[in-house]
Amino acid sequence: MDFVLLAEQALNGVQLGILLFLLAAGLTLVFGIMDFVNLAHGSFYMLGAFLFATFYTWTGSFMLGILFGIPATLVVGVVAEITCLRTLYARNHLDQVLATFGLILFFNQLVQVIWPLDGLSVPMPEFLDGSVNLGLGIEYPVYRLMIIISGLAVAFGMFFLVTRTRLGMLIRAGASNRTMAGALGVDINLLFTCVFGLGAALAGLAGMLVMPIIQATSGMGEQILILAFVVIVIGGIGSIRGAFIAAIIAGIIDTLGRSFLDVFLLLLLPENAAEAAGPALSSMLIYILMAGVLFFRPQGLFPPQQR
């Protein structure tokens, strides 16, 4: 096991973690502040990818694709919230699960109606193609590096928003004690719509960033949504800091597990058993971590202060 391999895998893990954070941030806000289970969050991820692909193809510019795609996804999120999700806040989680599951099916079919059946694919922009030498013999794809940098920028922006702005203060108040915040005169409906739109935009951004690596296809949101839920459970529901740290941990564990677990198992088990157990175990690792967190610290690693 050499340093270059370890360093590159660590970068891969961080990159996966950043993508998970973008998804988890919106999810944890919506769940934490509005106490709303939104399974359709993965659909905003998917819509973001498709909208970005469409704008990119129209304008021919990667940056313009993202610049148009983010507000477009935000609009879709706000429209969804105002038209159908608003009525669900008062209801119990099971009703919310059922309704948002229906939204998943709706969006999956909608995407196949509006866009080609097998999804969209965009070429990688020239300035982001290829690999870059980071020194010490580490070569890393430029695009994935860009994902890490932009994700960190967004994380920093979120931190600034939550701790230094009025909106952030309202969000934190809503996360701590919604009823009290409402009683103190905060327009809860507007706050909720803002939070929901922000979450949708973040999910859409994650979809856009990942789109040139994998293609945009119907149903791409479900797979990563499960991981996002695991991340917010580990991190603590309602806490963006928790979502960030848990996402990085999840990304690193998943990547290092896929990279080194089979090597590790080969030391303990015969070759056939190690080959079969390796992929099975490495895909389980993150859930084992979640189970552990739930057992020892059920409120998550960094729960928001409850007053």
């Binding site: 690999s131 296809t217 990279s259 089979d262």
Partner: protein, 394 residues
Amino acid sequence: MKLRNFMGIASAMALTAIPASAMAEPIKIGFVTTLTTGAAVIGKDQQNAVNLAIEHMGAKMGGRDVKIIFGDDEFNPQKGKQKTEKLVKRDKVDIVAGYIWSHVLMASAKTVLDSGKILISANAGPSPLAGKRCNKNFFNISWQNDQTPMALGEVLNQRRVESIYVLAPNYAAGKNMVAGVERTFKGKVLGKDMTKWPTQIDWAAEFTKVKAAHPDAVFTFYPGKHGGAFIKQYQQAGLTGRIPLYSVYTIDSIGLPKMQKAKLKGVLGTYMTQMWAPDMKNAQNKRFVADFKKKHGTYPSFYAAQAYDSMFFIKSAVDAVGGKIADTDGMRAALEKADFASVRGAMSMGKNHFPVQNFYLRKVVTDSEGNWTTAIQDTVYTNHVDPYAKDCKM
């Protein structure tokens, strides 16, 4: 007296009329494929090929009309099994064909075979059905999963590749592919990653391992949409041009137009093995490819070629039994003869009801009109029998 005569004549006429009307009943063929989810492109390719085949044969088999009832397995074994049950029990089809995915076929086969009907796989070739669990009513008109990668292992030996890194999904077909290449490849397997199927679609960690292992070549199998994402990420990781890529069932005529639009030049010049290619020169294939291209604007994939063959395969048997498709023993004997014009050229049916056929080395090239397609470079195996045939006690 007169009434009795009349009744006698009337009933005699009725009795002769019944078989005639039974003969006028259309033959119902159930075809299970994937028509929804992202993998629907493959199913649609097969559906187009089946419809083209029926059109080419004038929608008649053995003098009777033919009706195809499509079932959508939604890329899911449970759904595939449900649709198979519907076709067999509710629609009462005479014969079942199709099945892209090995895991869907394994889940659905019992339903058809237990009902005494004949089942023809137009793609999936899992090893159990070729070997220990072979069944007199099961036929495969494509290949056995291990054969194509075995041919590829042979190619690697011929090209003096000494070490490879293996990347494949962790399900029935993925395991067969890896077993196939390991059976014939004489060099070293430096690393093997069986990724989670179908959820894992990002190979960043795996490509980093490949770079660290320095293999002579990479062998991979990722059917459907995963193939496109894999090639894309292979190029982005800087592996294109550095480590040659050999694949089976990953690059096909469905994915190539999209790869061409996305300018994935890395796919040009990669090698794969198959028992068919669009440029084969026999008359049946020429008509199939030309008409398919005229109707749908793209080359057909091997999935389509096999689906097209499955219809003519069934027709050859129905013609042989004179339209009496209910005569299962007669149908079986005719299917075992495989006396039909296949788009792949000459082939015969093996003892275990899997084809005995040639396998070719194919390369991704640009055709005379500038479209990316695959072309045959060499014959790797002649009249190859799959390795599980000896385990089949039929």
